[in-house]
């Protein structure tokens, strides 16, 4: 897959009482979350990408491959797309195996090279033992895994997932998330992932498109959108930044692991994994405090040099400060939530050198 390929989408029109006027671009690699409250139009946007809804004024392209524009509209079955719906929607009249092969057979017959292999997919999703079952004997989590496998085996060039976990209970969700993470790590095709669950975004997304009332209000790298004080994600109480951290060393005596992000190293409670592996971590804005000088003695393990990149005062006299890690501030971005009094007392401004003290870092 070529890096630098982008997904370009623009849809404008009405569907009943609902108006959609959304345009975004996102790299055609990794997970892009389409995030917003229920009813904001994110599912409609996904259905447009699949060709299941049609607006007269619409454009969608994956790299150079234009699926629709003013002159043409490729129907769903001619788009190399895999869709996972909220409900598994397995075919009731087919066994698990024949469900999985339904799209595979057709895609190969239409000239796809079949590089997403049956054996790999069933192993990745842990459904090898389910193949000969009838779909009605599966649990909710198993059904959704089969649905994901069925979509993958249709050899898509783009995978669309519409809140694939929202119909599942908490335990089943936790059971499926690791499979999605494995997918994320091993899949070469881009994924557009619709969700209203911030936890899923923090855990899975590389890029994010924020949607509100049928409009795109921001899009970009997840950490940049999370860490931009001007955007709504930075203003919610549970604001946080997700970072991909590389495991550097284990300190088994103290039960700690040292990980590296861009511009800094962090210490966190012991993380399973080999040196060099990446883990997604989450740093909450309220867990980051700022100091002008390096504290001489502190119980806080993570005290990192950084630079103030921007800030926004909210109506509760809180200041959301965006900081860049490293003395030059060029590393990963974090968000720090401090009081307006502290902001004034420390005489902070854009460009200030600070020390970020991080009270808690969690794996997601």
């Amino acid at each position: 897959m070529t890096t630098g390929k982008t997904i370009r989408a623009r849809f404008h029109g009405r569907l009943g009482a609902f108006a959609l006027d959304a345009a975004f671009e996102t790299p055609a690699r990794g997970f892009t979350a389409l995030f917003g409250p229920s009813g904001c139009g994110k599912t409609t946007l996904l259905r447009c990408a699949a060709g299941l809804e049609r607006f007269a004024d619409g454009y969608f392209a994956l790299g150079n491959d234009v699926w629709q524009d003013a002159a043409q509209f490729r129907p769903t079955y001619r788009r190399p797309v895999g869709v996972v719906f909220q409900e598994a929607s397995l075919f009731a009249h087919l066994s698990v195996r024949r469900n999985l092969l339904y799209g595979h057979r057709r895609a190969v017959a239409q000239g796809a090279n079949g590089e997403i292999r049956f054996d790999d997919v069933i192993e990745l999703l842990g459904i090898t033992h389910l193949l000969e079952r009838s779909t009605r004997d599966l649990s909710g989590g198993e059904r959704q895994r089969v649905a994901i496998g069925r979509a993958l085996l249709s050899q898509p060039k783009l995978l669309l997932m519409d809140e694939p976990l929202s119909a599942l209970d908490r335990l089943t969700k936790d059971d499926i998330l690791p499979y999605l993470e494995k997918l994320h790590a091993s899949l070469a095709i881009p994924v557009l992932y619709v969700t209203h669950d911030l936890g899923e975004v923090e855990r899975l997304a590389d890029h994010i498109v924020l949607i509100e009332r049928g409009r795109v209000i921001a899009s970009g790298l997840l950490t940049e959108v999370q860490g931009n004080p001007a955007l709504p994600l930075a203003r919610i109480p549970e604001a946080a930044v997700s970072l991909d951290a590389r495991i550097e060393a284990h300190d088994t005596a103290y039960g700690l692991t040292k990980v590296a992000v861009r511009g800094a190293s962090l210490v966190l409670p012991e993380v399973a994994g080999k040196i060099g592996e990446f883990r997604r971590i989450r740093v909450g804005a309220s867990d980051v405090s700022l100091a002008r000088n390096a504290p001489a003695e502190s119980s806080i393990l993570n005290c990192l040099p950084a630079r103030v990149l921007g800030h926004l005062v909210d109506e509760r006299n809180q200041v959301n400060v965006s900081i860049g890690l490293g003395r030059d501030g060029a590393g990963d971005r974090l968000l720090s939530r401090i009081t307006r009094k502290s902001w004034d007392t420390l005489q902070l401004h854009v460009g200030s050198e600070v020390y970020a003290q991080i009270k808690g870092v969690a794996l997601v």
């Binding site: 769903t76 079955y77 869709v83 249709s154």
Partner: protein
């Protein structure tokens, strides 16, 4: 006393008629049911009402209009002239055409319900899995609607076996050609031949009961398999 051999021709004719009509009804009725289930056309309910008309129309009214349509001056007469006869009325072919109209709602309604029952989702899923609309119809819609199709077939067959008024109007009473079971029973009763009337009537009763029972059992097992 009527020899038993005389009872056979009307039975055979009835079964032949019902088999041909059922086959035609499935071929014609399934696309109509599909269209009625999926179309957003404003004409949809108008067409649905036309298809359903035979349920409320007296068979004699339907038979009367069919007689005109099939007769020498109607389109049926023109069709008949293609192979050199005057009319389709009072022929087996005429009976088939009449029965198709008469039994249509009993086939279309259950199939339409079955198509509507599974909603849009399986069809959308099939489209995302590279199936063309035609492919989707045969590989997803029809198998999912199978219980409804079976119900429609059984009802269409049974209803054709039991029809009387329409047959009397357009078929008359020609032994071996248009004299079906129900007409034969009517004839025997008219001429006070109670024994053959009893035999045929009891046979119809048992047949009808078996058909309904078989249909219910079949539907139940198909539904269980389809869930």
């Amino acid at each position: 006393m009527v020899p038993l051999a005389d009872l056979w021709p009307p039975i055979r004719l009835t079964l032949e008629l019902a088999a041909v009509v059922t086959a035609l009804l499935l071929i014609v009725g399934t696309p109509i049911a599909w269209w009625l289930a999926r179309s957003k056309s404003v004409w949809k309910e108008v067409i649905a009402a036309i298809v359903a008309l035979p349920i409320v129309l007296p068979p004699t009214v339907l038979g009367f209009y069919l007689l005109i349509l099939l007769g020498p001056d109607g389109p049926g007469g023109w069709v008949a002239s293609l192979w050199g006869t005057r009319t389709l009325a009072f022929t087996f072919e005429g009976l088939v055409i009449g029965s198709v109209f008469y039994s249509m709602p009993f086939v279309v309604q259950p199939i339409r319900n079955a198509f509507e029952a599974f909603g849009e989702r399986p069809l959308e899923v099939a489209a995302t899995l590279r199936a063309s609309p035609r492919d989707t119809f045969f590989s997803v819609a029809l198998p999912l609607a199978l219980p409804g199709v079976m119900t429609g077939a059984v009802l269409g067959f049974a209803h054709t076996v039991g029809e009387f008024g329409v047959v009397l109007m357009i078929g008359g009473n020609i032994p071996g050609k248009t004299k079906v079971l129900s007409i034969a029973i009517f004839d025997y009763v008219e001429t006070l031949q109670w024994t053959p009337a009893h035999i045929l009537a009891a046979g119809m009763l048992i047949f009808s009961f078996c058909v309904i029972l078989a249909m219910m059992l079949l539907e139940k097992s198909l539904r269980r398999a389809g869930q």
